[in-house]
C-alpha cells in the first residue's frame, strides 16, 4: 500500500512537472475543444448514463457547468469513467482535466497526492444500513457483525477506526461497486452495509421493501465530497471553483435557469449583476467571457436546481436537502461573494 502511495506521489510530481512545462490547462482545453472530466462508473443519482447513452447526474453537472463557463456550451464535455483505484492516477497523469466523482476531501489527498479540492458540492457522512429484523438500534451494538465495505475508499478506514475506538469487532466483506454491495447485502452475505449516507439512502430507495431496512442514527465520519483538479495551475482551479460557487450563489440570489435572461437585464441587485456579467467583468479576471456564469446557470441550472433534478426529494433517490441546504436555510452550503 505504501509502495503504491510512493508510486502515486512520484507520478503526481512528474505530472505536475509535465503540465508546468506546457501551456495552461485552460489553453489546452480551448485548443482541444472540450473538458475531459473524470466521473464514477456509476452511483445512482450522482453519475449514470441515461437511455440515450449520455452521462447525467449530480457530479457530471459540475463538469457541464465548467464547459458552459468556458465554451458557452455545456455539451462540450468528454467523460472518463474512473474507479476508486484509477481516479487519482487518471487525474495526476493528465488523462483527465478535472475529477467530479463523489471524492472525499481529505488532508492527504489535498497535500500529499498533489491535488486541489476546489470546494464541496455535497456534505456526506458514513452511515450503516441494517435489516430491521436484526433488532439493532445503534452502531455500537454491531459487535461481531459482517460488514459489506467498498475497498480503496475512506469508508474502509473510517470503519476500522470506529470499531477500534468502540472496542468491538467486525468481519469485513470486501466489495467493489455499489451494485455488488446491494446484491450481497440483500442476499444476506453481510449483516451491515456501510457507505456514505447518501449512497445508503439511494440504494435503500430502490429495494423492493425499503421499510424492512433502517439506516442507523450514527454518522461516523465527515465526508465532504467535491470536485478536484491537479495542483499547480491556479487559473484552472479558480475556474472550476468559481463555477461551483456561481451555481451556489445563483441559488442564494434566486437566479434559476428559467429566469436568468430576465434577471440579467431586469435585476437591480448588484450581486446578481456582477454574477451575470452585466456589471463589472468577473469573467475577464478568470480568462473567460463576461457572461460565463450566465451560460452556466442557463444551461445547467443553479445548485438547488441540479440537486432537485438528480438527487432531491422528488427523485427516486429522495435525498432531503438537510445539511446540504443553503446557509440561509440552516445548511452548510455557502459560497464566497462574487465581488
Amino acid at each position: 500500500m505504501s509502495k503504491l502511495k510512493v508510486l502515486l506521489a512520484a507520478g503526481a510530481l512528474t505530472a505536475v512537472g509535465a503540465t508546468g512545462a506546457s501551456a495552461g490547462t485552460l489553453d489546452d482545453i480551448r485548443a482541444k475543444g472540450f473538458v475531459q472530466c473524470g466521473v464514477s462508473t456509476g452511483v445512482p443519482g450522482f453519475a449514470f448514463t441515461d437511455d440515450a447513452g449520455n452521462w447525467q447526474g449530480f457530479d457530471p453537472a459540475v463538469c457541464q457547468g465548467v464547459a458552459a463557463a468556458i465554451f458557452g456550451d455545456s455539451s462540450k464535455v468528454k467523460y472518463t469513467p474512473t474507479t476508486g483505484k484509477t481516479r487519482f492516477t487518471a487525474l495526476a497523469s493528465g488523462e483527465i482535466d478535472m475529477l467530479a466523482r463523489n471524492t472525499t476531501w481529505t488532508f492527504s489527498r489535498d497535500v500529499d497526492l498533489g491535488f486541489t479540492f476546489v470546494g464541496v458540492n455535497y456534505y456526506d457522512g458514513q452511515g450503516f444500513m441494517i435489516p430491521k429484523a436484526l433488532g439493532v438500534t445503534s452502531a455500537k451494538e454491531l459487535d461481531g457483525a459482517s460488514v459489506c465495505i467498498q475497498t480503496g475508499t475512506t469508508t474502509e478506514l473510517n470503519l476500522a477506526d470506529f470499531f477500534r475506538t468502540n472496542n468491538i469487532s467486525y468481519e469485513p466483506v470486501p466489495i467493489e461497486t455499489n451494485e455488488e454491495a446491494r446484491t450481497n447485502y440483500l442476499a444476506g452475505r453481510c449483516d451491515v452495509y456501510t457507505t456514505d449516507a447518501s449512497g445508503l439512502a439511494a440504494t435503500r430507495a430502490a429495494f423492493d421493501d425499503p421499510a424492512a431496512h433502517i439506516v442507523l442514527p450514527e454518522i461516523i465520519s465527515k465526508e465532504p465530497l467535491g470536485p478536484l483538479v491537479r495542483q499547480g495551475d491556479e487559473q484552472w482551479s479558480d475556474i472550476v471553483r468559481w463555477t461551483l460557487n456561481a451555481m451556489i450563489n445563483a441559488e442564494e440570489y434566486g437566479v434559476t435557469s428559467a429566469n436568468v435572461d430576465q434577471m440579467a437585464t431586469g435585476s437591480n441587485n448588484p450581486e446578481v449583476k456582477r454574477l451575470l456579467g452585466t456589471e463589472a467583468d468577473l469573467g475577464g479576471m478568470l480568462g473567460l467571457e463576461k457572461n460565463w456564469a450566465h451560460n452556466v446557470i442557463k444551461q445547467v441550472g443553479n445548485y438547488g436546481e441540479v440537486y432537485d433534478r438528480y438527487i432531491g426529494a422528488s427523485t427516486p433517490i429522495g435525498l432531503e436537502r438537510g445539511i446540504n441546504a443553503l446557509y440561509t436555510d440552516g445548511g452548510l452550503i455557502y459560497a464566497p461573494p462574487m465581488r
Binding site: G11, T14, A15, A18, T19, A21, S22, T41, G42, V43, P44, G45, F46, A47, F48, T49, D50, D51, G53, W55, G57, K78, T80, P81, T82, T83, K85, T86, T89, A90, S93, G94, E95, T177, N178, E179, E180, R182, T183, A202, T203, A205, A206, F207, D208, T315, P316, I317
Partner: protein, 371 residues
C-alpha cells in the same frame, strides 16, 4: 401343439430386429441414463436438481418476465420475473456503446466485412480462396477506417467505441495479431541462436509472470509518465498492444508444447530432404505442431475474449461498463441479474461458437492418430 416350430438350416436364419429395449429412444435412455447403479443414482439426482431449479429459472427468465417497460417500477407492476425492458431499451448501447447513432451502420458493415474476411481462413473450400486471401489481408485497414473514420468518412473518436463492439474489437485484434507473434516466439524459444532464444524466453516469462490487469494499468496510466509530455497515444491502441503481447506469450507456450510433441525423426527427415529451416518449419513441422495445439490455442483465445471485460477497470466502457452505468440510473437500479445474464448470453454465444469451430477443425484435420 397349435404352434409350429420352424427350423432353419445353419446359416439361413433371417436377421431378427434387435431387442426393443436396446434401440430407439428407450434403448438410448436405458443405456446412457440407467446403465448401472451409479448412473441411475446420478440420473435421479440430476432430474431432481433440474426439477428444483428449472421451473423457477424459466418462470423468472421467460414466463413472468417483462420484455417491454420503461423503468424498473413499470416492470414490477407488469410482472414478477426478470425485467428485460432494460436490455430492450438499451440494447444498442450494450452493443455499440456511445458510437454515434447515425454512424452505427459502419459498425454493422465492419462486422459483415469481417465475416467475409475470415471465411477463406476458416473454410478451406471457399471458392477463389487464393484471391480472397488478398481481401482478408487488406481487411484490417478497411476495418480501421470504417470504425475510426478518415478517408472521407466522418471521424469517430476511439473513446466512443464501446459496448460489445469494444470487446469484439479488442478480442479479435488480440486473437488475429497474437497467433503469428506467438508462433514466432515459440520458434524463437526453441532456436539454436542464443540471443534470439534468450530474448524470447525473457519476453515470454516476463509477460506471463505479470497479470493482465497490471499490463492494462501500465497501458492506461504509467505510459503517460514515460512518454514525453504532450504526446497522446490512443488508449484503445495501447490496450490492443498490451492484450496482443499478453496473449502472444501464452500462445507461444501452447505452440511450443505442440512443437515438442513432434518426433525428432520429422525434423531429421526434413533436414535430410535438404529443406532450409523455414521450409522445414512451414511444410513439415508447423502443420503437425499446430494441429496438436488447436485445443490449447482456442482455449487461450476464449480466455482472451472473456478477459477483454477487464478494460472496464481502466475506464473503457465495454459491455460490462455500459451495464454498470445503466444500473446506476435510478430508473433501472437493482436489475443486476438481468444485466449480467444478458452479458453472459452474449459472451456464451461467441465463446461457444469458437469452441465448436475448433472441434470441427480437429475432426477435419485428424489423420487417424487420434484415439
Amino acid at each position: 401343439m397349435a404352434e409350429t416350430t420352424q427350423t432353419y438350416e445353419p446359416g439361413t436364419h433371417p436377421d431378427l430386429p434387435p431387442p426393443l429395449a436396446t434401440t430407439g429412444a428407450l434403448g438410448w435412455i436405458k443405456k446412457n441414463l440407467f446403465g448401472s447403479p451409479s448412473s441411475i443414482a446420478l440420473t435421479v439426482i440430476s432430474v431432481y436438481l433440474l426439477y428444483l431449479i428449472l421451473p423457477n429459472a424459466l418462470n423468472w427468465a421467460l414466463f413472468d418476465a417483462v420484455f417491454n417497460a420503461g423503468s424498473r417500477a413499470e416492470c414490477r407492476e407488469l410482472g414478477s420475473g426478470a425485467c428485460w425492458g432494460l436490455a430492450n431499451v438499451r440494447f444498442s448501447q450494450f452493443i455499440y456503446g456511445f458510437y454515434p447513432e447515425h454512424l452505427r451502420w459502419r459498425v454493422n458493415l465492419t462486422a459483415v466485412l469481417f465475416f467475409l474476411a475470415i471465411l477463406p481462413i476458416l473454410w478451406d473450400r471457399t471458392p477463389y480462396r487464393q484471391q480472397w486471401f488478398i481481401y482478408s489481408a487488406l481487411f484490417p485497414i478497411i476495418g480501421y477506417f470504417l470504425l475510426v473514420g478518415g478517408l472521407g468518412l466522418e471521424p469517430v473518436e476511439t473513446t466512443k467505441i464501446g459496448g460489445f463492439t469494444l470487446n469484439v474489437v479488442i478480442g479479435v485484434t488480440g486473437i488475429v495479431a497474437s497467433l503469428p507473434l506467438g508462433i514466432l516466439l515459440a520458434l524463437g524459444r526453441r532456436s539454436q541462436m542464443p540471443i534470439v532464444r534468450t530474448l524470447c524466453v525473457m519476453f515470454i516469462e516476463f509477460i506471463r509472470g505479470v497479470p493482465l490487469i497490471t499490463l492494462l494499468f501500465v497501458a492506461s496510466t504509467m505510459l503517460n509518465y514515460f512518454l514525453p509530455p504532450g504526446t497522446t497515444f490512443d488508449l484503445i491502441l495501447r490496450v490492443l498492444i498490451m492484450v496482443t503481447i499478453f496473449s502472444a506469450a501464452y500462445i507461444a507456450e501452447v505452440v511450443r508444447g505442440g512443437l515438442q510433441a513432434i518426433p525428432k525423426g520429422q525434423y531429421e527427415a526434413a533436414d535430410a530432404m535438404g529443406l532450409r529451416y523455414w521450409q522445414s518449419m512451414r511444410l513439415i513441422v508447423l502443420p503437425q505442431a499446430l494441429k496438436i495445439s488447436i485445443p490449447g490455442i482456442v482455449n487461450t483465445f476464449v480466455g482472451l475474449f472473456k478477459d477483454t471485460t477487464l478494460v472496464v477497470i481502466i475506464g473503457l466502457v465495454d459491455v460490462l461498463g455500459v451495464g454498470r452505468a445503466a444500473l446506476s440510473d435510478a430508473k433501472w437500479q437493482g436489475l443486476a441479474w438481468e444485466v449480467y445474464v444478458f452479458i453472459a448470453i452474449l459472451f456464451f454465444i461467441c465463446c461457444f461458437s469458437m469452441a465448436r469451430y475448433s472441434l470441427y477443425l480437429e475432426n477435419k484435420l485428424h489423420t487417424g492418430h487420434k484415439r
